[in-house]
């Protein structure tokens, strides 16, 4: 019987935790039933058990037949994953190569140094690609984990061609725009990640490898990265839902404000750094501090834009009001 238990335990290892014990118990009772049937007289020998298990199939195969599909990125998400990855990697490569080329001007490097710098670029590309893929993967895994409910069938029933947005609808949802935005957010994450690793904002880099850094507490970068990841998640949800809804728009507002606030703090650090530089002087310092005081006003603009959007959505949800709104839009054009 030892073999039987070993087998059942092994099957259990590949099963999801939920319902695992139940499946194991059922498997045990089945296998014992089968043994009873095969061995008419006496106790089943080890060879009997072995033959039965061999026939029943490998533990992995048996566990897999319970088929609660466990995907990191499932078939629904996969095409999207490929798309984001493709655009993102392309974007990263282009951005890094441009940055590298720009860096070459004004530097006086020998051929050997140039060779080293190119090698460095390849290394940078590799790390950037890895961390981009990593963050995309995390987002996709979260989506997969929580977005797995296959409501597609029900949605299809409710779907009606008439519910398609009008061509000049201000909320017409552009998939391409959304993807580009996601890719840029991805690049933003890379930059933040780079700054975090460097211990602050990199102002200038002289090849080979000498950077001027404005020290910024790492926590700012971490928070900004987390917010950016959440923003990507919201955008992905919007893409899956086929358009903005009031909750997603509200979430966007929240993340925008959070990101805005942290950037505000970071800019404060940068200004404090500039002000004490030997090349800084009265007029520049005054301008910066004055500008900095105005900066929070931008937050009001963000809130205003979101409120306008949300109000429009409420109008849109009500067909009567929507007509009025569309007319108004047309007349103002």
């Amino acid at each position: 019987m030892d073999l039987l238990e070993r087998y059942i335990t092994e099957v259990g290892r590949y099963l999801p935790r939920k319902g695992r014990e139940d499946v194991k118990n059922e498997l045990r009772s089945t296998l014992e039933d089968m043994l009873d049937e095969r061995v008419v007289e006496g106790k089943p020998t080890e060879a009997d058990v072995e033959a039965l298990l061999r026939e029943y199939g490998s533990p992995q195969k048996v566990a897999a037949s319970y088929g609660s599909e466990q995907y990191v990125i499932g078939p629904d998400l996969y095409p999207f994953f490929v798309m984001v990855t493709k655009f993102g990697l392309m974007g990263i490569t282009i951005a890094l190569v441009i940055a590298f080329t720009v860096g070459l001007f004004g530097s006086t490097m020998g051929l050997a140094d140039l060779g080293l710098a190119v090698l460095g670029l390849v290394g940078q590309l590799f790390t950037a690609a890895l961390s981009f893929l990593g963050s995309v993967l995390i987002v996709m895994m979260i989506l997969q984990r929580y977005g797995i409910k296959p409501e597609i069938g029900e949605k299809d029933k409710e779907w009606h061609p008439r519910s398609l947005p009008a061509v000049d609808d201000p909320f017409r949802f552009s998939q391409a725009e959304m993807i580009i935005s996601i890719v840029f957010t991805g690049l933003w994450i890379l930059i933040l990640n780079y700054f975090w690793m460097q211990g602050g904002i990199v102002v200038s880099v002289t090849l080979p490898l000498q950077a001027t850094v404005i020290a910024v507490p790492p926590v700012y970068f971490i928070v900004l990265i987390v917010i950016a990841l959440l923003q990507i998640a919201v955008q992905v949800v919007v893409m899956r839902q086929g358009g903005w809804t009031i909750p997603t728009r509200a979430a966007r507002l929240m993340f925008e404000l959070a990101s805005f606030y942290v950037s505000y703090l970071v800019i404060g650090v940068v200004i404090a750094w500039i002000v004490v530089q030997p090349w800084a002087g009265e007029p520049l310092n005054d301008m910066l501090t004055w500008g900095y005081r105005l900066y929070p006003l931008l937050a009001l603009l963000i809130i205003l834009a979101a409120v306008v959007d949300i109000v429009k959505m409420v109008f849109k949800a009500n067909p009567g009001l929507q007509e009025m709104l569309v007319e108004e839009n047309n007349s103002t054009k």
């Binding site: 499946v23 089945t30 039933d33 089968m34 029943y56 037949s65 088929g67």
Partner: protein, 124 residues
């Protein structure tokens, strides 16, 4: 050209696909009275429908999760067994599936030029 092995593999794969939905119908039809997995398997086999255990047990669980079956552990017999029985919802679903089955087989018999189930004409 397809080798014989590839041909067999192809046929097996398609047969499996074809049977997948039918097994559900067969299982639901045989659970008026409570059965445990292994007894159900034998019952299906006796009626000419050989089904692999690897298919039946997970299917039973899925059907139960969807509310088409009810199950209960019976710990009084020689060993604990999980008995499955069709639920009221399962009965309703089964009736619908039966209608569907009649329609499909009717239509396909015509398409495949199979006269009636009783004749042995294979329809060249």
């Amino acid at each position: 050209m397809m080798t014989k092995a590839e041909f067999t593999e192809q046929v097996e794969k398609l047969t499996q696909e074809l049977r997948r939905g039918i097994v559900t119908l067969a299982v639901l039809s045989q659970l008026d009275e409570p059965q445990y997995g292994y007894s159900l398997l034998k019952r299906l086999g006796d009626k000419g429908m050989e089904v692999d255990q690897g298919t039946v047990y997970p299917l039973l669980r899925r059907l139960e999760q969807n509310g088409l079956l009810q199950s209960e552990w019976d710990t009084e017999g020689s060993r604990p067994r999980r008995y499955y029985q069709i639920s009221p919802l399962g009965r309703e679903v089964l009736a619908k599936l039966c209608d569907e089955w009649i329609d499909i087989t009717g239509a396909l018999n015509v398409m495949l030029d199979i006269q009636t189930p009783s004749t042995t004409n294979e329809g060249e």
